[in-house]
């Protein structure tokens, strides 16, 4: 069983609003750059950057971050996560980094991403943007920009589909088995 939480129009509106919030909160776009967590976060970063270009007429840099080497569950899970490319072609020192992920859940990926970013430089600030916040945090982490808050149960799954991956833009809630 699955239910649609966002369709393509709603997703686009949410991203547009987040772009405006980023500009408003930072009183402009000075020193802002985007770093997306592989893989969904990278596409969302590019879209936020494109929205800001529509609004302010400026291209903000976008990087991609792979967090598999910073995870806290090596040896607990079976197998290792695939190491994808980290591609941040600009110096993040002194920048305001907007870290972007598709779904915020336990907060552990964000913890890993923060550690990875700290190894690459010393940003002035790191802010967090997510398309979906589904709750159930296990660490004291909070998003600054949220596309949609969706309270979920632990047995449910959130699936974010993006057109960059060859699917129609939408977010689905997939029912899990009842315990």
């Amino acid at each position: 069983m699955s239910r649609e939480l966002l369709n393509n129009k709603e997703m686009d509106r949410a991203i547009t609003r987040m772009a405006h919030e980023i500009i408003e909160r930072n009183k402009g776009i000075e020193q802002i750059c985007f770093v997306g967590i592989q893989r969904g976060g990278v596409h969302l970063s590019s879209r936020l950057s494109a929205k800001i270009k529509d609004i302010e007429g400026v291209d903000l840099p976008v990087g991609s971050l792979d967090i598999s080497l910073y995870r806290d569950d090596v040896g607990i899970r079976k197998g290792q996560p695939v190491v994808r490319k980290t591609d941040i072609l600009f110096d993040i020192t002194g920048k305001k980094v907007v870290l972007v992920d598709d779904v915020l859940f336990t907060g552990r990926s964000i913890r890993a991403a923060l550690d990875a970013l700290m190894d690459m430089g010393r940003p002035d600030a790191i802010q967090l943007g997510v398309l979906i916040d589904r709750g159930h945090r296990e660490l004291p982490i909070k998003a600054d920009y949220v596309g949609k808050n969706i309270p979920t149960s632990l047995s449910e799954k959130i699936k974010v589909q993006l057109k960059e991956e060859g699917m129609e833009d939408r977010v689905m809630l997939i029912q899990g088995k009842r315990d």
Partner: protein, 311 residues
């Protein structure tokens, strides 16, 4: 969701035992680590809290330091045991040494040994991941992996390339591992050297043998020079080093027989002026020092992937 990849074995014993997919996975993962090595902070916490023991029963500088650096950059705790300082000189058996190392809490055991098959023997008897860093004349899998990674980086593919391996194939574990890997990926492998060191029977592995450089090197895309192992030459495989270098040494003139984009590789340490001329070793076609750097990334990838296999 994060994609996952699993390795069948907890150990890396040889290239022979690996599938093509597993090799491709190691090479892909290594390119992620190559990026890490280009950063200011070259260390990641991926294997924090685990321990690696480097057990070397044969002299080695390059392989041991490369493993040690790879381990440190994965945040492993590292212990180095070499034969001259260990209780092996007091008569301890190999298996006892390994079991003691395991009792110290080793998660990874990197082993080099003068006898072929030692890593295989240990693998069945200990829980730690055993990584073969060279066993006798059998295999040196991480060297072949780093060679493949370097070829991929320079040529973008392995399939269909003409790869010439020159020198003492008979005693070379590097050549053995490279032959397994390159033939799995569909390269045309040519072995070149004196008949005493390039036995015809190796053709069973799907390679061609040549006794002269002039025909063997023609249009080659990759030339791998092997070290003449002076310590193994007491049985007269060739009359003299001078004669060897005259017939099978790589100089500029012979290099010109190969493809004009050909790359020159050497696993080190080099005997300059014997198997390879200095102007070739230091020339624009040489990727010898890149092999060394890539070695760290490849060994990091191997340990990272084996770290995800639960015994």
């Amino acid at each position: 969701m994060t994609a996952e990849c699993t390795f069948k074995s907890k150990d890396l014993l040889g290239i022979k035992e690996l599938s093509k997919d597993e090799i491709a996975l190691i090479l892909d993962t290594a390119s992620g680590f190559r990026d890490v090595l280009r950063r200011d902070i070259k260390k990641v916490p991926a294997l924090r809290g685990k321990t690696a023991v480097n057990l070397f029963f044969e002299p080695s500088t390059r392989t041991r330091t490369s493993f040690e650096l790879a381990e440190k950059r994965l945040s492993l705790d590292v212990l180095n045991l070499s034969v001259t300082t260990s209780s092996v000189v007091k008569g301890e058996t190999l298996m006892d040494t390994a079991l003691n190392v395991q009792a110290l809490g080793a998660d990874f055991m990197v082993i080099r040994h003068p006898s072929s098959g030692v890593p295989h023997l240990l693998s069945g008897n200990i829980k730690a991941s055993v990584i073969n860093a060279g066993d006798g004349t059998n295999e040196h899998p991480t060297q072949a992996l780093l060679d493949a990674f370097t070829i991929m980086e320079k040529k973008g593919r392995i399939e269909g390339l003409r790869v010439a391996i020159v020198g003492d194939i008979l005693h070379s574990r590097v050549a053995k591992s490279n032959i397994y890997l390159l033939t799995k990926f569909g390269a045309e492998v040519r072995l070149i050297g004196p008949p005493t060191l390039v036995p015809k029977r190796l053709e069973q592995l799907g390679v061609k043998t040549f006794y002269d450089m002039e025909t063997g090197l023609k249009d080659a895309d990759v030339i791998m020079m092997l070290r003449i192992q002076m310590e193994r030459q007491d049985r007269g495989f060739f009359p003299s080093t001078l004669e060897y270098s005259r017939y099978w040494g790589l100089n500029m003139e012979r290099l010109s027989l190969a493809d004009k984009e050909a790359i020159v590789m050497h696993p080190g340490p080099m005997n300059r002026g014997l198997e390879i001329a200095s102007d070739v070793a230091d020339g624009p076609r040489s990727v010898i020092l890149e092999q060394v750097t890539n070695g760290i990334a490849v060994r990091m990838a191997v340990m990272y992937l084996l770290g995800g296999v639960r015994g």
